[in-house]
């Protein structure tokens, strides 16, 4: 017993030193990773400025027709700064993007919809214009939040449930098959949702995450992380759109 107590204390002490050592190594690795991100960020900034000055030839022309629908996900903190969102939309208008879906999880941009439409030249609300009737000189904007994601699908599901119940045959208790993707698309339109799938999703925030963008619409969308909205760069935007126009989709085949 007397011999065990010091041994236990010693092994506990050794364990604590070991944990402390591991902690130090972990923190050191993270410092190195952070430094790597800083250096990589500097290179990206330099490249972005070069692109915006037109110094890199390949980004001087973009086949914008390939980008039918762009979506922009904005982190909730960034969404409070509407002026930056307006500036981004003005850049997108310059590039020639015709349709933009703006998403933030809490719907802050929805609340600022009128101001944004007023401040972005030649912008219209997508719902008013309909997807097929956007004039060449206009940019159609759509405002999306988390309520358009899972909640909207559940509302649409209840429409399908109603249809199913109405179609149940009294003899066999089996209803019509109203459970297909096209039925769900229709039900989503009935509850006021767009079902258009964006080609490209730009994420402005600290993390590459779609932050709850409507799952039903996100199937084959290219998702690109653009970094912070506060420090957004025109060159990086051009680069992301240019890269998209070079992408070839297999759709799993």
């Amino acid at each position: 017993m007397d011999f065990n107590d010091p041994m236990l204390a010693l092994s506990s002490w050794i364990g604590q030193i070991g944990d402390f050592g591991l902690d130090l190594v972990w923190r050191f690795i993270h410092i190195v990773v952070t430094l790597w991100h800083i250096v990589s960020g500097i290179f990206e900034s330099v490249e972005s400025y070069a692109i915006s000055l037109g110094l890199i030839q390949k980004y001087s022309s973009i086949d914008i027709e390939k980008l039918k629908c762009l979506a922009v996900v904005v982190d909730i903190e960034a969404a409070r700064d509407v002026s930056k969102v307006i500036e981004l939309l003005q850049w997108l208008t310059t590039i020639g993007v015709k349709q933009v879906g703006l998403f933030d999880s809490q719907g802050l941009l929805k609340k600022s919809k009128d101001m944004i439409l007023e401040m972005v030249p030649r912008s219209v609300l997508l719902q008013e214009t309909g997807e097929k009737h956007i004039s060449p000189d206009r940019i159609a904007l759509e405002f999306i939040s988390s309520s358009d994601n899972k909640e909207a699908v559940v509302k649409a599901a209840n429409i399908l449930l109603e249809k199913y119940l109405k179609s149940i045959h009294p003899e066999n208790g089996v209803g019509e098959n109203v459970f297909t993707e096209s039925h769900l698309n229709e039900a989503l339109r009935v509850v006021g949702e767009s079902v258009h799938v964006p080609d490209l999703l730009l994420v402005y925030g600290p993390v590459r995450s779609h932050l709850g963008f409507p799952a039903w619409r996100l199937r084959y969308t290219e998702i690109v992380h653009m970094g912070s909205l506060k420090y957004m760069r025109y060159g990086s935007l051009l680069k992301a759109i240019h890269k998209f126009t070079g992408v070839r989709q297999n759709y799993g085949v």
Partner: protein, 269 residues
């Protein structure tokens, strides 16, 4: 000479194992993802890159990656791993290729069943999720057997996603929840979110914290878009058979850097 080479090889393997365990011990100082999903892309490109013969050559190489990834996740202590093995869109490939992939899956499931019976699976629990009715009968039965054999295991839960797409999952979940509502006479005939979510193929696992896609593509390709609202999406240029220890470590380090932000987002929800 052969003994000498064998001894050196054993020593080297021992050294790499110790180094790997040390790296994982360091990694585990920080938060570890509760659930990592893998979109295993790039097998065909790998086969083309290395001039491998056979329609399933790339996928065979990919299976080797699967075994390593599961081993690493088990050693790190990740509780749930999801592997996107075959999507519904993949059925549109050439019939010979689809048959090859199904046969390969069957072969690997039967191999894993043998390992489970001989006690070599290290407490791994294997679950197959997706529309299993789209698979051929033999494959379905084999998958079911493997699930039953490993049901009581309490180690890493490896969910193999086959015959799946988010859009198919959502539609089937709505169908299933509607039918259940109709059968259950007691509750009101209104669907709640929980009714739909509990009928999803992937309801058996929590939402992923980290989604790793190999092959350099920036899409989710109709995979778990419903469940990945708060996931860190990580793409690596490495093709799936090339994915190794350092790719996984890098992804987890990225997750650890962003962990506080992701936790804050989850709390806001």
């Amino acid at each position: 000479m052969r003994e000498h080479v064998g001894k050196s090889s054993k020593l080297f393997n021992g050294f790499t194992t110790i180094m790997r365990r040390f790296i994982f011990k360091v990694l585990c100082v920080g938060p570890i993802p509760n659930h990592i999903s893998f979109i295993m892309d790039g097998n065909r490109r790998f086969a083309k890159k290395h001039n491998l013969q056979g329609l399933d050559a790339g996928h065979r190489a990919g299976f080797v990656s699967v075994t390593y990834v599961l081993q690493y996740c088990q050693e790190i202590g990740v509780p749930y791993v999801t592997l996107y093995a075959f999507g519904i869109d993949n059925f549109k490939r050439e019939p010979e290729e689809v048959k090859c992939m199904m046969d390969l899956m069957l072969e690997k499931i039967e191999l894993t069943i043998d390992q489970a019976i001989s006690g070599n699976l290290k407490d791994l629990k294997v679950i197959f999720a997706g529309d299993l009715n789209l698979l051929n009968e033999r494959l379905k039965v084999a998958a079911q057997s493997l699930m039953e054999l490993t049901e009581q295991n309490r180690g890493l839960v490896a969910v193999v996603i086959v015959a799946y797409s988010t859009s198919h999952e959502i539609v089937q979940a709505i169908r299933e929840s509607c039918v259940r509502k109709c059968v259950d006479g007691d509750s009101p005939l209104v669907l709640e979110m929980s009714d739909v979510e509990e009928c999803m193929y992937t309801s058996i696992v929590p939402d992923p914290d980290l989604v790793i896609r190999s092959g350099g593509i920036d899409r989710l390709s109709n995979f778990m878009t419903w469940q990945s609202s708060r996931s860190l999406l990580h793409t690596t240029a490495a093709l799936w058979p090339e994915l190794g220890l350092w790719h996984l470590v890098w992804a987890i380090l990225k997750f650890q850097r962003m962990h506080d932000y992701l936790q804050k987002k989850q709390k806001l929800d």
